[in-house]
């Protein structure tokens, strides 16, 4: 059963794959980020081994916290206070910071002036009147907002949730946009200027409970499980979106009939793109069985499509281009719809 490959075509392609040049990686950057994560984890472990020192630091932190509103939890103050110098997380202040210098576990403070952290080609975020800790870095950036507010501009990317802000149990994740997140004494306020923002519990990362479109704003509990959203479409012309009870309730998601109609349109586009982007020799018929999924945003626009198993980039790109103008009725939550397809038949 383990005879060497005798099938010439398979052997030939395997040989080509084995001879392929490996991808070039920035090893220095990779090592820096890895060691930052390692140090951050070891810093946390060290904290647990120094109970007496932690107790003294906590007492100092309590004294510091009196009279300041919206401060973060004592545990987070503790994690900074007990870290010995030159080991583990650092504190960054200053008007303009390079994202590459702010490692996982580091804290950014903007107590007297705003502090902007730039990740070229990815995102830029500005912290106002508070503290934030970088929880994740690299192709996904996650910032834990301890106090104050963050404004962010994020470069659109094919990776969903490339930038996120977490406030205790609430996660505000970005899909290429401009938005503001503010920590309130009893919750979180989110305002979206451009693009789409997902909000939900931290524990349910990747599955936000609310999607906010441009002009929308919302107020959410710290556990990410309760919230109220004001849609831009619900406001009178000229009004500023503020978080209060919405005056009109939208349907939760598109109706079954509308979903079916959308799927018909998506399927037709996929079929056309498959036919026109799949070439074959004569007397050869190419077919593909796949499941098409599409996510509809609350404002009715088509947010994403996916094929499982994936189709070629040309077919996927062609389909995406053909359907991007599709629009459904605005709803409270939007929806994800899917249909199995046999293409090429």
């Amino acid at each position: 059963m383990t005879e060497p490959l005798n099938n010439d075509p398979l052997r030939q392609i395997v040989r080509e794959v084995r001879e392929q040049e490996p991808a070039e990686l920035d090893w220095d950057r990779l090592e820096r980020r890895l060691m930052s994560r390692v140090d951050a984890e070891e810093g946390g472990a060290r904290k647990r081994r120094w109970p007496l020192f932690a107790g003294l630091a906590a007492a100092a932190a309590i004294a510091l916290g009196v009279g300041l509103s919206g401060m973060g939890s004592l545990e987070q103050l503790d994690s900074v206070a007990t870290t010995p110098p030159n080991v583990g997380p650092r504190i960054h202040t200053g008007a303009l910071l390079n994202g590459a210098d702010v490692a996982v576990g580091d804290e950014v403070r903007a107590l007297e002036q705003p502090s902007t952290v730039q990740h070229p080609g990815h995102a830029s975020w500005t912290l106002h009147s508070g503290r934030a800790i970088v929880a994740e870095s690299g192709s996904v950036i996650t910032v834990r907002l301890v106090s104050g507010s963050i404004e962010a501009q994020v470069v659109p990317t094919s990776r969903p949730e490339s930038f996120a802000v977490e406030i205790e149990g609430t996660r505000v994740a970005v899909h290429g946009t401009s938005f503001r997140v503010e920590r309130l004494p009893e919750g979180v306020r989110v305002q979206v200027r451009e693009g789409v923002v997902g909000v939900g519990p931290v524990a349910e990362r990747g599955r936000p409970a609310w999607m906010l479109a441009p002009g929308d704003s919302g107020k959410f509990a710290l556990d990410g499980r309760k919230g109220e959203v004001v849609r831009a479409s619900q406001l009178p012309a000229g009004a500023t979106a503020v978080p209060h009870k919405p005056s009109q309730r939208l349907p939760a998601e598109p109706s079954a009939a509308e979903q079916s109609k959308l799927l018909d349109q998506l399927s037709a586009a996929a079929r056309g793109c498959f036919e026109s982007n799949t070439s074959a020799e004569k007397q050869v018929r190419v077919q593909a069985e796949t499941t098409l999924s599409a996510t509809i945003a609350p404002d009715g626009s088509l947010r994403s499509i996916a094929f499982d198993p994936p189709l070629s980039p040309a077919v996927t790109g062609c389909t995406a281009g053909a359907v991007k103008a599709l629009k459904a009725t605005p709803t409270e939550r939007g929806a994800t719809i899917s249909r199995s397809l046999l293409l090429g038949s």
């Binding site: 490959l5 991808a23 690299g138 982007n277 020799e281 190419v286 994403s304 996927t316």
Partner: protein
Amino acid sequence: MQPDESAELVARCQSGDRSAFQELFRKHRADVARLVQRMMGPGADLEDVVQEVFFQVHRSIKDFRSQSRFSTWLYRVTVNVVLMQRRAAKSRPVLVGLPEGISPPDRGPMPDEDAARRARIAAFARILDKLSEKKRTVFVLHELEGMAATEISEVVGAPVLTVRTRLFYARKELTELLREEPTLAALADSAEGDEGRAEPSTPISPEEAP
């Protein structure tokens, strides 16, 4: 991978030596990156996955016992991280808009040999992706990484006979899938010595179809 010369480094890592862990990373990073690239295919975020592999190595190196070679254990961690990443990626939708790197159909001259080889490798990655996780893993480890079935059985945690069976069916399935992939079908046809067929033309991938 090299014969196990990492024993001393591993022992120092297990005692908390940070510089030993960095040395271990530098020694094995290329091998890990190559395996990740072969298992995940093009378009994968290699840097993130490689970082995650070594982070998990750091977390669990105290559990490594010297009954097996360190490289085998490292491969096991790598395979597990890749499988987790692939499962997580499947639950994320693809955004609308042309994916990066897609260009309009080329109506110009036929691609040169380098471009043709890249197209074949990309096409092979697509059909490899169609195998089940278990078959794809053993195929990559055996055919692309050159690991013996006995070592693969330690990596994937399955009996040697199971590994051999999966390998057999992986080859069989890939041979059939080769014929259905336009860019690779010419390889299959030329191997069969199809009489009456003219000299096979340079394969054209769907992306390059006019």
